[in-house]
Symmetry: C2
């Protein structure tokens, strides 16, 4: 029982800082998107392609246990970026995002948080984001919504990446969609290939609408 109490305290403290983050990013006209997916699902390549296609300026907070491989890829494209290394923790928390918001020189646009590669714990920690974006890919198999339901339940949209690999994998698209629909009936699902650029037009249009709605609601 004691353990559960401790976890509740940690979550409550985290949520308080998440609320602070939300105010900070609202004041700076930032739509903040928490991108969550497994290791190697293509989060960085997806972001690079999305940012290339968006007409709104973008920045990135990179979350990793260690290394700055992904942040360097962003910096190479002159995208404003801050790296958070969790040093062992399997998810970002609101405190580290708070420090990242302090140090990144970015306003008036979309700020992506590329969370640590993990389909489980990142979904349990609010960061002050406007919404969570789930990303999965064809090569991982079609059963991810059944095995990792929390992310697909909480996501405002789902990306199915590496769609160009469909011919080479046994991926039952209906089974994948049914799994998501059972958890989150109306969530939009975007099929993309970050390599070929297929499917980005529709996703970019949707995301630009989200930014417009966010700015109108202020």
């Amino acid at each position: 029982m004691e353990e559960i109490v401790i976890i509740k305290d940690v979550l409550e403290a985290n949520n308080n800082v998440a609320d602070i983050n939300k105010n900070i990013k609202d004041d700076r006209n930032i739509l903040m998107v928490n991108l969550i997916g497994a290791p190697g699902t293509g989060k960085t390549t997806f972001l690079l392609k999305a940012i290339e296609n968006l007409s709104i300026q973008c920045g990135v907070i990179e979350g990793d246990v260690t290394s700055d491989i992904d942040a360097k890829k962003m910096a190479e494209k002159n995208i404003p970026v801050v790296q958070i290394n969790t040093g062992g923790s399997c998810h970002l928390n609101a405190g580290s995002v708070n420090r990242a918001l302090e140090s990144i020189n970015f306003d008036n646009g979309i700020l992506f948080i590329e969370n640590v590669g993990n389909l489980i714990c990142p979904s349990g920690f609010e960061l002050g984001e406007d919404f969570k974006l789930a990303i999965a890919n064809v090569t991982e198999g079609d059963d991810k919504p059944y095995k990792y339901p929390l992310l697909f339940t909480k996501a405002k949209a789902v990306i199915l990446n590496k769609i160009d690999m469909i011919p080479y994998f046994e991926f039952d698209k209906k089974f994948f969609y049914d799994g998501i629909r059972a958890l989150n009936p109306d969530v939009p699902i975007f099929e993309v290939s970050s390599r070929t650029g297929e499917g980005f037009e529709e996703f970019v249009k949707w995301l630009e609408e989200q930014y417009k709605k966010f700015m109108e609601s202020k």
Copy 2:
């Protein structure tokens, strides 16, 4: 500071149960292998193919947040199996493996633990296993050893799965190998395709040697 103390206590309690598990499985002539990899890296398909090729009898403890999809695949092949659902936790702990050892009807062979799909936390929790087996795959990209070093540091062997996908992905094998070698200079690395069966002969030979050594050491 308080948080750190709590985590230490949790790990110490876990390690005590892991020691008990080690004695139990030794008494039952079981070589216990803790298989760790990302979601969708092909752990289940890899185990099915390995077990099909091994001349030693095998059992499986399946770890998932929820669902029994993987356990059913084992049962269909008449492989002794027990499912552990962590109900949210992102890794197995020694307590749940202790209960699984109680309930699985299995002795005199190799017992695989398919850990929860996660490249981070499972590496930090001892289960009483003889060794950890790391699994990564070509479609995840070549940077995994750099981003998730703990697993590759602790593993007694590394599997590179989906090797038949090399023609379709930008995967720098030298970069992947260099990353592993920097952490764990002498670890054997087996390139396999769980779909085609390529590379299993060498891995199976190595694993059967480990079982022989284990039995001789008793």
